[in-house]
């Protein structure tokens, strides 16, 4: 209980004058308003309790509106006007109380021993259930306060994601908690969400408490790239975590500039299920009859249904003994007639699936089982960045992400059941599936069809969670959004997007304005279950210094490896 006797070192900035739990606290500011910003993290000491809150608004007020309505400096002598303004014109803060902590009586007071006897555990912040007294002093939170709430950076699971905007105190994210539930990183284009995502992923990989599977639609995360804004080079995860990260290219020949892939993913026809195809209903414009046809195909051909259907031709006819034309034995219509399916419906489906049949990464017998390799790598505590290379259409993205994720779901469900039933003593490795452009997979129409909504809702108990990266959170199905534990958002302009990010959270009114006023590329708002209280922060820079800070002592102890790497004789930097 180190902070028992430590009061916040910062000076008082105001005092509580009114308010409540529902309506926020009103705080009269005693310093110039420019010293406090919306979103400032403040502490309020009242009796033995410390309250933690967030400034959600600043308002100009006057003891009498008439003092504000005239320019006092023109009517009165300058120093009289100054004194008058100081005593009659004020700035009030609206402070949303979020947490409180019972610090108990002073250590040297007679009551302390009794209190300590009744409170054997060190006091911990809890959701606010009462309010401070009138005139309780309000201070900006200092480094100790922020560490009390958000944890103290340990370069592992307590990961620094930024700093407070006023005084630059470090603000951390508990990565263990972050991966326990699905999370989201949001922001408009240019808000810095890709850099933020890279940084958090680097933290996750470095902490090594969970594996990550990154569906890298735009080739941003694996290889080193160049910033479109500054032209500076941006480190990818593969270059920094060479041994921990597997760089996987979709299809043969997918490359990452000068960086080779660890292996390429080619998907066997037999790995494609009818479920995978049904999840593409919208994009392939499939009819309602398609489900029946696919069901029959699977019944007739089992795992080989995709290849068998691909081999059938459309419109092929032969002349029978009676001289009449009838469907050729290798035609779709021939099979359909045998299977009791309307030939027209089957031929229409065959035609629509033509877009899949010509995907070069879907082949009958791939040289290696890329899907299995990905799952094995993830179970083996590695991290996988799957780059789509030139196959960056929506169809490719939906098909491959769904297919892989379905395999993952099956594997992790099995591992979890084995673990719980005692068949395996190894607890499944937590897995975070990182999905970019998530609204394509998780919009209202798709959410019911794709595997991702299931993961967001149910897979937590099977050790799999999602990390959604998106610029249009309003397009993501509400039910999925409400499941997101931690939300980190850069600036958002659209009212619907702001509402979506705040859905299901208390104090939305105060946070709404904050989201719309975040500085692009600089500031983000962290909120949700995974963070003790919402807080806007100046995000940590994803630059050379970031890597120096992240690897810190580890690199010092790897002097030999460092030298070898510099000589090009070793590439192990993680």
């Amino acid at each position: 209980m180190e902070d028992q006797t430590l009061s916040t070192q910062n000076p008082t900035i105001g005092y509580v004058i009114s308010g409540g739990l529902e309506a926020n606290l009103d705080v009269r500011l005693t310093v110039p308003p420019q010293e406090v910003q919306e979103g400032a993290f403040v502490v309020i000491d009242s009796n033995n309790w410390r309250f933690y809150g967030l400034v959600t608004d600043l308002r100009l007020t006057a003891i009498d509106e008439q003092y504000a309505n005239q320019l006092n400096s023109q009517r009165f002598a300058p120093h009289l006007a100054e004194y008058l303004n100081k005593q009659t014109l004020f700035t009030d803060l609206a402070v949303m109380p979020v947490l409180m902590k019972d610090n108990g009586p002073e250590v040297d007071s007679p009551e302390y021993a009794t209190w300590r006897h009744e409170h054997t555990d060190d006091p911990a912040p809890m959701p606010v259930k009462t309010i401070p007294n009138h005139h309780a002093p309000v201070k900006l939170a200092d480094q100790t306060d922020i560490a009390d709430i958000f944890g103290e950076e340990n370069n592992k699971d307590i990961f620094r994601v930024g700093s407070t905007r006023e005084q630059g105190h470090p603000v951390c994210l508990n990565l263990d908690k972050f991966v326990q539930r699905s999370s989201g990183i949001f922001g408009t284009t240019g808000s810095g969400k890709s850099f933020l995502a890279r940084m958090i992923l680097a933290g996750l990989i470095h902490a090594d408490h969970a594996s990550t599977l990154i569906f890298d639609m735009h080739n941003e995360y694996g290889p080193d790239t160049t910033s479109s804004d500054t032209g500076n080079s941006v480190f990818g995860l593969k270059g920094k975590f060479t041994n921990k990260v597997r760089l996987v290219g979709l299809g043969a020949g997918t490359k990452f500039g000068n960086m080779p892939s660890d292996f390429n993913l080619e998907i066997s026809h037999s790995d494609i299920t009818t479920e995978d195809v049904l999840q593409l209903t919208q994009i392939l414009n499939l009819k309602e009859t398609s489900a029946t046809t696919l069901d029959k195909l699977e019944n007739d051909f089992h795992d080989n249904w995709f290849n068998a259907f691909m081999q059938m031709n459309v419109g092929g006819v032969v002349e029978n003994e009676d001289g009449k034309m009838e469907p050729a034995p290798d035609s779709v219509a021939f099979w359909a007639r045998q299977a009791g399916i309307h030939p027209g419906a089957a031929e229409a489906l065959r035609s629509k699936l033509g877009r899949l049949f010509n995907r070069p990464y879907l082949i009958d017998a791939p040289a290696s089982n890329g899907l299995k390799a990905i799952i094995t790598a993830l179970q083996d505590k590695r991290h996988v960045v799957l780059s789509f290379g030139k196959y960056d259409s929506e169809l490719d993205y939906l098909l491959v992400t769904n297919l892989i994720t379905r395999k993952i779901r099956d594997a992790w469900e099995q591992s979890t059941e084995d673990f719980h039933s005692g068949r395996s003593k190894t607890e499944p490795r937590p897995l975070v599936v990182v999905v970019e452009e998530a609204h394509k997979l998780l919009n209202r129409e798709m959410a019911s069809q794709t595997i991702f909504s299931t993961i967001a809702r149910e897979m937590r108990k099977y050790y799999v969670t999602l990390l959604i990266i998106d610029q249009r959170p309003s397009q993501i199905y509400d039910e999925v959004m409400s499941q997101l534990g931690t939300r980190i958002s850069g600036s958002l302009g659209d009212e619907d997007d702001i509402n979506a990010v705040l859905s299901g959270l208390p104090g939305r009114g105060g946070l709404r304005g904050m989201l719309s006023k975040l500085q692009p590329k600089e500031e983000v708002l962290m909120l949700g279950w995974g963070v003790p209280m919402p807080i806007p922060i100046r995000s940590r820079r994803y630059d050379q210094q970031f890597w120096i800070d992240l690897f810190g002592n580890e690199q010092k102890t790897k002097t030999k490896e460092g030298i070898l790497k510099a000589l090009g004789m070793d590439d192990d930097s993680d």
Binding site: D64, F76, A77, L80, Q87
Partner: protein, 205 residues
């Protein structure tokens, strides 16, 4: 207190209550007292009661009414009426504090002064000392006057006190007094702005 800084007797008490009292003096003695000046009355028990002059009143009588209604008044009549009449000039004083056992308080005294107690004009040292104490709490007494032009009384008092404090190199006193007045009056917009208007005029003189 230096010899040149001796308190000047300016009259004797006519009537009194805790919060205010009235002294009388001859017209010839009237050169010294002024509106807003700090005065005191020394009691038999050596305690002192302080006040501010809020009003100086010259009453009429039947003789002066006859003279005023005459066509012309010889100069010697005017002088005789002014300087030899038996009716005193009234000096109205607002009680603003007292001393007891050497301690100055800005509250009202437990008892008023008695008739014929001597009224003294406080010298600069006494003025500076009294007005510096208790965060100028005595100013609140002025603000409770309802039958007086408070702004003018404040301006008169602050001008005299500021001069005394400036002479004693206490240049902050006036600023503190202005802030105190704003604190006391800020809930009354009309009254405060009137006071500040007068103080602004005073400073621009």
């Amino acid at each position: 207190m230096s010899e040149t800084q001796t308190s000047i007797p300016i009259g004797k008490l006519l009537r009194a209550e805790n919060s205010r009292f009235v002294a009388g003096c001859r017209v010839r003695e009237l050169e010294t007292p002024a509106l807003g000046a700090l005065v005191k009355v020394k009691l038999e028990d050596q305690s002192e009661i302080y006040g501010l002059i809020t009003r100086i009143l010259i009453n009429d009588d039947s003789l002066v009414r006859q003279l005023v209604s005459g066509v012309s008044i010889p100069t010697e009549y005017t002088a005789d009426n002014r300087y030899n009449r038996n009716l005193p000039v009234e000096i109205h004083v607002l009680t603003v504090g007292y001393t007891q056992n050497g301690h100055i308080s800005h509250r009202l005294p437990p008892r008023p002064p008695l008739s014929l107690d001597v009224l003294h004009l406080c010298n600069s040292d006494e003025l500076c000392h009294f007005t510096s104490l208790n965060e100028q709490a005595y100013l609140r007494h002025i603000l409770r006057l309802l039958d007086q032009p408070v702004e003018e009384l404040l301006a008169a008092h602050l001008r005299q006190a500021k001069a005394a404090h400036d002479a004693a190199n206490d240049v902050n006193w006036y600023s503190l007094a202005c802030q105190k007045l704003i604190t006391l009056l800020r809930d009354d917009y009309q009254r405060l702005t009137s006071v500040l208007d007068v103080l602004t005029d005073l400073e621009r003189e």
